[in-house]
């Protein structure tokens, strides 16, 4: 019973997500695809920054690597840019594997650096990626980028063709609808894997290394290997996220994978609460959807100026809201959205106990399964001043 209550919101959310393509129009579907791609990347980054305490600004590099690996692997060998012509499923796996391997190659550096120095080193990767993407024209198509073949499994294509017409409950399912389910499946899978990883032996070792390397070493944790593991896993997540972004765009170009993308990923996990999978998910949806929705509905908002007229327009408002949200979270919400949600849950259960009723739910605070999000402890990269709240 308690299991059902605990999982209730999650199951409900999943059912809603499954039903949404029946209701939404193309704009919301496309926004959802971008959001789900970012969810996968944000989960990867929260494992690295939140759980393992390694600041990385190089997430865009690994996303780019995954995106181009996917495009190259499925690409038509006779096409304008080089390609292998392999099945898309292989390409998707390869996108994760290649990123993981490169993340592993980078781990000798990431293992020696900490905090802001690691952040700076990883920024270098983003500039390296930019240079390679623009200049390796045979592979990447240069500045103009290359098209991405749609995803397919034998007999079914996640595009507008093959089957040319598919309807569920009277709603025609086109490429965007079909991709929605692919993305949802991958996002749920990565959240589940991420949660298990964090709650398991590896996650505890990573958290231990984050809090004190000396203590971790004394406990028998191989510090260098733990750090490398975190980097490899996070890179694999970023690679898959990049491949999903490539599928959502249908065409990739170097401009998509700039430093701004890395910063967006960081904002997502800070807003959501470092180390929390659910928080990273919420943060990713917020950061991706906010500017798109504001741009789309700016004409309906009475207080917004028409774009270009010099007043407060949608793009400016989106940037202001971002900034305000980050400042508000850092000042008032210890542990981000996830921390706030968990505090509300605690307060409610404490309240129920206080009114004399029998405790319906076992005290959730020492929950070992990690299903309810415990308030994530503050990792080394965050500011200590939040502790007082």
């Amino acid at each position: 019973m308690s299991d059902l209550i605990r999982r209730g919101p999650m199951v409900l959310g999943l059912l809603v997500a499954l039903a949404l393509p029946l209701l939404l129009d193309d704009f919301w579907l496309q926004t959802g695809l971008f959001a789900m791609a970012s969810v996968v990347g944000a989960i990867g980054l929260t494992l690295l920054v939140g759980v393992a305490g390694q600041l990385s600004l190089g997430h865009a590099f690994f996303a780019a690597l995954g995106a181009y690996t996917y495009a190259w692997t499925v690409g038509d060998p006779a096409g304008q840019e080089a390609g292998l012509g392999l099945p898309p499923l292989v390409a998707l796996v390869l996108a994760g594997v290649v990123s993981a391997v490169v993340g592993g190659l980078f781990s000798p550096i990431s293992g020696r650096l900490r905090g802001i120095y690691l952040g700076l080193a990883t920024i270098g990767l983003v500039f390296l990626a930019r240079h390679l993407m623009v200049n390796l024209e045979a592979l990447t198509g240069g500045f103009n980028g290359r098209t991405v073949e749609p995803f397919s499994v034998p007999g079914f294509s996640f595009s507008n063709a093959a089957p040319d017409y598919l309807a569920v409950a009277g709603v025609q399912f086109e490429g965007l609808h079909r991709l929605w389910y692919l993305f949802l499946g991958i996002a749920v899978l990565s959240a589940w894997l991420g949660r298990n990883l964090r709650a398991g032996r590896t996650g505890r070792a990573l958290a231990n290394v984050r809090d004190s390397e000396v203590a971790a070493a004394a406990m028998g944790v191989n510090v260098a290997r733990a750090k490398a593991t975190a980097f490899v896993i996070s890179s694999a997540y970023a690679g898959i996220a990049g491949a999903l972004m490539a599928l959502a765009y249908g065409r990739i170009a170097p401009d998509l994978f700039g430093i701004q993308l890395s910063i967006d990923f960081l904002v997502m996990i800070v807003l959501g609460g470092l180390g929390s999978i659910a928080g990273a998910t919420a943060g990713a949806v917020f950061v991706v959807a906010l500017p798109l929705v504001l741009a789309q509905y700016s004409s309906q908002l009475p207080f917004l100026a028409a774009p270009g007229s010099g007043g407060l327009d949608a793009a400016t408002l989106a940037r202001l809201l971002y900034g305000a949200a980050i400042i508000a979270v850092l000042l008032f919400l210890r542990g981000g959205l996830a921390g706030a949600a968990s505090r509300i849950r605690h307060r409610r259960s404490a309240h129920q106990r206080g009114t004399g009723g029998p405790p319906l739910v076992p005290t959730p605070s020492p929950d070992p399964s990690g299903a309810t999000e415990p308030p994530p402890s503050q990792p080394a990269v965050s500011t200590r001043s939040e502790e007082k709240s």
């Binding site: 579907l29 103009n144 009277g170 500017p291 741009a295």
Partner: protein, 419 residues
């Protein structure tokens, strides 16, 4: 255990319901689409009394200033069209959305716009239009106003307003040899933005240089580089006898200024986006007046051809204090091109997105009264509709800062082949 069975049953039940709701037969497959009021078949963005066209432009990013001019001119154009009875007896509405030069926004805005518009009047910006072009092609949706990059020629739904940067640059090399006394074996510098704009210009210049026996000294820059001292010094050292600049006004100001201070007195050639009339009041002004040539597909603001006059009068009535630049005749020309295609689709009785693209591709002899150089032929998607360009000189007393010299088509501009 029992719980597990129940879950399995529930999931299986859901799957069966979902499968039962599936269908792969299109109920509309044999139908004739939506029935219009009359004999004209109406598609997306068309009602009995209105047509909606979309503009995806950059009103909050780096090209906000020029984009606002184009939006103002386009809206004024359609207001005029509506006053004269509209297109196909319908009023034309313009749906403007701001992508802020962000491809992600451009793609999502495109998704929301595409089902509700007959055509896209404009998708501004290199990376943004590169992201939207393949989607629009898959939807058979007309797309205009994306610049003049040669790689757009592979899309049959895209209508280029004039010729490409590569043909402009090839013509510029011909002009240097034939009119400005550059001799065989001389060197010509090309300072270009990395990307579809600059690389296209470089390709045209390299082709023509090989034909005319010149040497190209390429200098790659990015839009963030605004100090051209290093490039100017390199060009001086190489002994360049002319420079082609496929960049933006800040680069032109710097390059012309530095070249002048180094006493390098050579022609500087630019495309439409290279020049801004405000530069003539800057310290680089005297150098530009002496040496700047613009090779453009659309007529400069000051041209006294009837088409340009109409465009300018309309703009000055709509935005009396607006910036004067190449965007005004360009926006008018683009709106004329789309209106012509929509009228063609109407006459063919197929006012759908596909119908507009078809009508545009049947245009073989369209004359825009001097907005573009020659009459235009869009029947072959792999070729630009014309290869003739306008040659203008910088002039301080002319509105818009450029004075029209002549139209020009050289042998290399004519012979340039697209990859």
């Amino acid at each position: 255990m029992r719980n597990g069975t129940r879950t399995t049953l529930a999931i299986a039940g859901c799957c069966i319901v979902a499968l039962a709701a599936c269908s792969t037969k299109d109920p509309n497959a044999s139908g004739n689409g939506s029935g219009g009021q009359s004999d004209v078949k109406a598609g997306a963005g068309v009602t009995d009394d209105a047509i909606t066209v979309g503009m995806l432009t950059d009103l909050s990013g780096p090209f906000a200033a020029g984009a606002a001019v184009q939006v103002a001119e386009t809206k004024a154009y359609y207001a005029q069209v509506n006053k004269d009875g509209g297109v196909c007896d319908r009023q034309v509405k313009v749906d403007v959305q701001d992508h802020g030069y962000d491809p992600q926004k451009a793609v999502t805005l495109y998704r929301s716009m595409a089902p509700n518009v007959l055509a896209l009047q404009q998708v501004l910006g290199g990376p943004t239009s590169a992201a939207v072009l393949p989607l629009a092609q898959a939807d058979h949706l007309y797309l205009g106003g994306f610049g003049w990059a040669g790689n757009s020629l592979k899309y049959d739904n895209a209508q280029i307003p004039g010729t490409t940067y590569s043909v402009e640059a090839a013509n510029a090399i011909d002009y240097l040899v034939d009119e400005l006394g550059v001799k065989k074996g001389d060197k010509v510098g090309v300072v270009y933005f990395t990307g579809d704009y600059g690389n296209d210009s470089l390709a045209g210049a390299e082709y023509a240089a090989e034909k005319r026996g010149l040497k190209i000294v390429p200098q790659e820059i990015t839009p963030k580089d605004t100090d051209m001292s290093a490039q100017a010094s390199a060009l001086k050292k190489a002994g360049a006898s002319a420079v082609i600049l496929a960049a933006a006004p800040p680069q032109l100001a710097s390059l012309a200024g530095v070249l002048a201070s180094q006493k390098v007195n050579v022609p500087v050639i630019g495309h439409a986006p290279t020049f801004n009339p405000a530069l003539l009041d800057s310290p680089a002004g005297p150098a530009l007046l002496k040496n700047y040539y613009a090779f453009t597909s659309t007529a400069p603001y000051s041209s006294d051809e009837p088409g340009v006059k109409k465009a300018v009068d309309l703009y000055e009535a709509a935005a009396p204090k607006g910036a004067k630049g190449f965007e005004v005749p360009l926006a008018y020309a683009q709106a004329e091109l789309l209106t012509d295609a929509m009228k063609g689709a109407c006459e063919a009785g197929n006012l759908t997105p596909e119908g507009v693209v078809e009508a545009m591709r049947k245009t073989s002899d369209l004359d825009l009264d001097g907005l573009l150089t020659t009459s235009l032929d869009y029947t072959d998607p792999s070729q630009p509709p014309t290869r003739t360009v306008f040659v203008s000189r910088a002039d301080a007393d002319t509105p818009g800062g450029l004075k029209l010299g002549e139209t020009f088509e050289g042998p290399s501009g004519k012979g340039y082949t697209f990859k």
